[in-house]
Amino acid sequence: MIVFQDVSLVYPNGVHALSAVNLSVARGEFLFLVGSTGQGKSSLLKCVYREVRPTSGDVVVDGQQLSQLPHSRVPALRRKVGVVFQDFKLLHQKTVWENVAYALQVTGTSSRDVMRRVPRILELVGIAHKSKMFPQELSGGEQQRAAIARALVNNPLILLCDEPTGNLDPETSSEIVALLARINAKGTTVVVATHNQAVVDRMRRRVVRLTNGRIAHDEERGRYHVGLG
């Protein structure tokens, strides 16, 4: 589903974010991307949704080489790849319902489809009863659920989560990760960048550790720290 082929990324300010990364994520897989801040986790995710382009190497998403992807096709890629962030990135002037519907409306989905799909996805993430509220009226966990709903409403093949529990208390973090696991169980490939040790250790899924932009460790059913299994 996602293949990194010898990917290096150097930002214009000279920072080496990724160095010769080779990684393959299968369809339907759940993967934790771990490492402390500044090791390249977010940069790796950004390469998948084409927020940045590798300096060398290539990323293949659903069989499409992103280096060959014209600018005009990036919106189509982003409909296949849902993204969730630590700061939720919800539109404050829209209600929860409107935020989720927005992802469909900007892609030209018919209003009938919008009316059908939005309630269903809000039900799935467990905030259907808050659909008329504005993001600032919700708790952090609820905002993250709204953000996940928005990322999922286009039925993406891949869900990328960049520190999804970074702003949440431990209990809410567990609930969000459990939700991600449920979404993964329905067939969506999920990649979660995190430094939440408790969550990673409890889930026992594939863990890829990045250190200085390189893959330092890659383990099935891994833990946050290597050698503690």
């Binding site: 949704y49 927020e51 005009s72 919106p75 189509a76 890629l77 982003r78 409909r79 993204v83 990135k89 919800l90 539109l91 002037q93 927005y102 992802a103 409306q105 900007v106 892609t107 030209g108 018919s110 209003s111 009938r112 919008v114 009316m115 928005r150 286009n154």
Partner: protein, 303 residues
């Protein structure tokens, strides 16, 4: 309407969404929207006032230059049929707009009428004035050519068109026209930059929002349209507000200018006000549209 062979109907939900986005852009940050409209209005007032003054001044200059005539004073011994022939030849010339023959008796009567009460012309018992032909050209630039043509005729004694004054006026008209155009270009650039900068601020204030739209897979034009339309509407509404101010100023000030500053060479009545208003609205709309388009494209490119 069909697409890919499948019958589709107009989706009112989509229409509502699109115009809802435009309306939301407008009402979300009222202060910013009013600031950009106000900027357009003030710029349009300055530009409009200058365009108006220039148009009215221009028409005065054109009028003055257009009034220049060539007077050909004929030799006394030229017989009337030959004069008639000369007049007919001149009338056939495409460069010439009007030819008037003034015989010496009429010229004297005219002089008497004009100088009545000032000079006693009864002391003159002969008529010293020559017969004359007054020629008006279609294009003021042809005045010297027609004067030269007349001078070469054996019937003509003297040709007068106040050449020094004429040339000064033509030169002044050219210089004023270039200066006016230069000022208009500079004002237009300044107006465009001021409006662009204000609208850019309103777009940059929504950078986060634009980035989110891009993240959820909105196409470039889906993101641009509401902003571009907002820019167009801001431009039109701002320009209309500017025009209201200009119109009020015109109604209040123009009679006062005419009465109190008679030495100003302005011909306010000659300005095509409707045409000017339309031009200013188009300028407002264009600058608003382009400023939004450039700003939103820059924000999208930086994302």
């Amino acid at each position: 309407m069909t697409r890919n062979g499948v019958a589709t109907t107009l989706d009112w939900g989509k229409v509502k969404f699109f115009w809802g986005e435009v309306a939301q852009n407008f009402t979300r940050n009222v202060t910013m929207t009013l600031t950009s409209m106000g900027t357009v209005a003030v710029s349009i007032v300055v530009l409009g006032a200058f365009l108006f003054a220039r148009e009215s001044f221009d028409s005065v200059v054109k009028n003055v230059v257009g009034q220049v005539v060539v007077a050909a004073y004929l030799k006394d011994n030229v017989a009337l049929p030959r004069i008639g022939q000369l007049v007919a030849e001149l009338r056939a010339d495409p460069r010439i707009d009007g030819v008037k023959y003034v015989n010496k008796a009429d010229a004297l009567a005219d002089l008497r009428r004009r100088l009545r009460g000032q000079v006693n012309l009864n002391i003159i018992n002969t008529n010293p004035l020559p017969n004359a032909i007054i020629v008006h050209t279609r294009n003021p630039a042809d005045v010297p050519i027609v004067a030269g043509l007349l001078r070469s005729r054996p019937e003509v004694a003297v040709v007068n068109y106040h050449s020094a004054t004429y040339e000064k006026m033509v030169r002044m008209e050219a210089v004023l026209s270039v200066i006016g155009l230069g000022i208009i270009v500079l004002l237009l650039i300044a107006t465009a930059l001021i409006i662009y900068n204000t609208i850019r601020l309103t777009v940059f204030a929504r950078q986060r929002e634009i980035n989110i739209m891009q993240l959820v897979g909105a196409t470039r034009w889906t993101i641009r349209w509401p902003f571009v339309l907002e820019g167009t509407l801001s431009g039109i509404i701002g320009a209309a507000a500017g025009l209201v101010v200009l119109w009020a100023g015109y109604r209040v000030l123009s009679p006062k200018i005419v009465i109190n500053l008679p030495f100003l060479p302005l011909n306010l009545a000659a300005v095509p006000v409707g045409h000017l208003a339309l031009e200013l609205i188009v300028i407002g709309a264009l600058v608003g549209t382009l400023a939004s388009l450039v700003s939103v494209s820059r924000v999208m490119a930086s994302a």
